[in-house]
């Protein structure tokens, strides 16, 4: 278990995620302008900046602690639909793991996140939401872990699946969230929340590969 992911990974992940979300702020705004209200990039950027400021204060000593900090900060800084959904996702993820994270831990983390999102948002797959990124991520992680992959490779499989899942939201008609008000006009656009999920999981994989 020498390659289990530790606090350093979690810290790097969240900082990477912040950088990536800041970089893609306008892209996420534009995706949300097309089928929502144009704030998703701003919301995520504001939230993760606040998270990193909290991380800088120190005092966290395990992965679960980082995830819990992310949860409470997103919950209290993001607002909108994404705040409670990501907040609950990270809260459940933090509860799903203990100590350093091995491949099965990665699966548990992602499963916790997805469960949290579904518990709050009541969406299933195919409704053009972030669930459509988390669900394939979980399946891919499960397969990788079952195949004996490393945590880093498990995360990479999850991240790639999330990215594909996000892209696969394009032809879908939204039936949850703000995009659902557009009816058929939501077809042809990529879901912003699924896209931010893909960026966050990609940062997790990048961070795991770097440690």
């Amino acid at each position: 278990m020498t390659d289990a992911l530790s606090l350093a990974w979690a810290d790097a992940w969240i900082r990477d995620a912040q950088a990536v979300l800041a970089e893609h702020r306008m892209e996420l705004i534009d995706l949300d302008r097309a089928i929502g209200d144009g704030d998703h990039g701003e919301n995520m950027d504001r939230g993760f900046k606040a998270v990193v400021a909290k991380l800088d204060e120190g005092g966290i000593d395990d992965v679960a602690g980082v995830l819990k900090l992310v949860a409470s900060t997103l919950m209290s800084k993001v607002g909108g639909a994404a705040g409670p959904l990501y907040g609950t996702a990270f809260l459940r993820a933090s509860k799903a793991i203990e100590g350093d994270v091995d491949a099965n831990g990665v699966v548990a983390l992602i499963e916790g996140a997805l469960d949290g999102i579904v518990a709050r948002g009541k969406a299933t797959t195919g409704e053009k939401t972030m669930v459509d990124a988390w669900t394939p991520a979980l399946e891919a992680a499960k397969a990788a872990a079952a195949a004996g992959e490393t945590p880093a490779a498990t995360l990479r499989a999850a991240a790639d699946a999330a990215a594909k899942g996000a892209e696969a939201t394009i032809p879908l008609q939204a039936t949850k969230g703000r995009a659902s008000y557009l009816g058929e006009r939501s077809i042809g656009h990529q879901d912003p929340g699924a896209t931010s999920t893909a960026y966050i999981l990609n940062a997790a994989a990048d961070a795991a590969e770097a440690v």
């Binding site: 705004i29 534009d30 302008r33 097309a34 089928i35 929502g36 209200d37 144009g38 704030d39 701003e42 919301n43 504001r46 919950m75 209290s76 800084k77 993001v78 607002g79 909108g80 639909a81 994404a82 705040g83 409670p84 959904l85 709050r120 948002g121 039936t175 949850k176 969230g177 703000r178 659902s180 008000y181 557009l182 009816g183 006009r185």
Partner: protein
């Protein structure tokens, strides 16, 4: 983007600072977390009314804080539901011992954040109930959507439930009145132009010089469909018809007709729409017993309007007419 702002990140805070200074006789603004309470909050023994949501819909909600309407308003970032913390703080600040009613517009974000705040308030032993306003008939099939949005009807719920709380109704009573308003109110909106969220810096959608959006919400989201530009009377028909179709009010019913501007439309145009909407309602056998015309629930500088019809009964009429003293709505005080 040309706006009278300094920094997109400070829009809400600076607006609240100006609002506080201009209306210190009526309201007190708390900063960080941001919420607005009536100057005499909490009112002992009275049910407290808290509403909130993304900013950008002014005068909703802060403009309706005051005697006879809301006890508190919680403004989020522009078009972004507030987080649970300020909702909780506002709830605590206005609890006069008779419990608090949350008036929530039906958007995933608002519902989730208010739910969390309500749970937290319950843990602090404050009785909280919520009315989720969902009056927008543009959202046709709620099985295939997040459900009807809360739009113009929200103003009606806040005014009438506010009057019920002011006369001393208990929490269940105020909730019952709010529910009755919500059950009897329907709205539909349209846009001539998009609006620009300050931090986005670009219009929320692109609309040709000869096109309009029918069935918009209040967040600059595109509507259900796009149609060619048309005369005001035709546009009015496109809004009134789905309302009547959905409401199916009996002939002879008394209604309140509310023509709302989206923020950038001159008042004169709203009266032109009102004039025809009133005629259409009368043609449907309805009596327009009360009216409201103006910018009451907006989408930044969007040009366009929404029409709201509330079926009245004697009690709702009396509560609508009751005195109110807020920055944006004032009557008898």
């Amino acid at each position: 983007m040309k706006k009278l702002i300094n920094d997109p990140a400070n829009v809400v805070a600076e607006t609240l600072a100006g609002f506080q200074a201009a209306h210190s006789d009526l309201v007190t603004v708390h900063f960080d977390p941001d919420y607005v309470v009536r100057a005499d909050a909490p009112v002992k023994g009275k049910v407290g009314l808290v509403s909130g949501g993304g900013s950008g819909h002014e005068p909703l909600h802060a403009g309706y804080v005051g005697k006879g309407m809301l006890d508190a308003a919680v403004p989020g970032a522009v078009f972004t539901s507030p987080t649970p913390d300020p909702i909780l703080e506002a709830t605590k600040a206005v609890d006069g011992g008779a419990g608090v009613l949350h008036i929530v517009k039906n958007y995933t974000g608002d519902v989730l954040n208010f739910e969390t705040a309500a749970e937290m308030a319950e843990m602090e032993d404050i009785a909280v109930k919520a009315i989720v306003v969902n009056d927008d008939v543009a959202v046709e099939n709620s099985t295939w959507t997040a459900g009807r949005r809360g739009v113009g009807g929200t103003v009606m719920v806040e005014k009438i439930a506010g009057a019920a709380a002011e006369r001393g109704d208990d929490l269940d009573g105020v909730l019952a009145i709010a529910t009755r308003v919500n059950d009897n109110v329907r709205s539909m909106g349209m846009a001539l132009t998009a609006c620009t969220v300050p931090h986005a810096g670009k219009p929320s959608f692109d609309l040709g010089e000869d096109e309009i959006e029918i069935g918009i919400g209040i967040h600059g989201e595109p509507g259900r469909h796009r149609v060619p530009m048309a005369p005001a009377d035709q546009i009015t028909e496109m809004l009134v018809a789905p309302i009547l179709e959905d409401m199916k009010p009996e002939a002879g019913s008394k209604v309140l007709l509310f023509v709302n501007g989206m923020g950038g439309t001159p008042e004169a145009e709203l009266y032109i729409v009102y004039n025809h909407a009133r005629k259409l309602l009368q043609d449907a056998g309805l009596e327009v017993a009360r009216s409201l015309v103006g910018n009451y629930i907006t989408s930044l500088e969007m040009q366009g309007c929404s029409i709201t019809v509330l079926k009245l009964d004697d009690e709702l009429t009396e509560l609508w007419d009751a005195p109110v003293l807020t920055p944006a709505l004032r009557r008898g005080l």
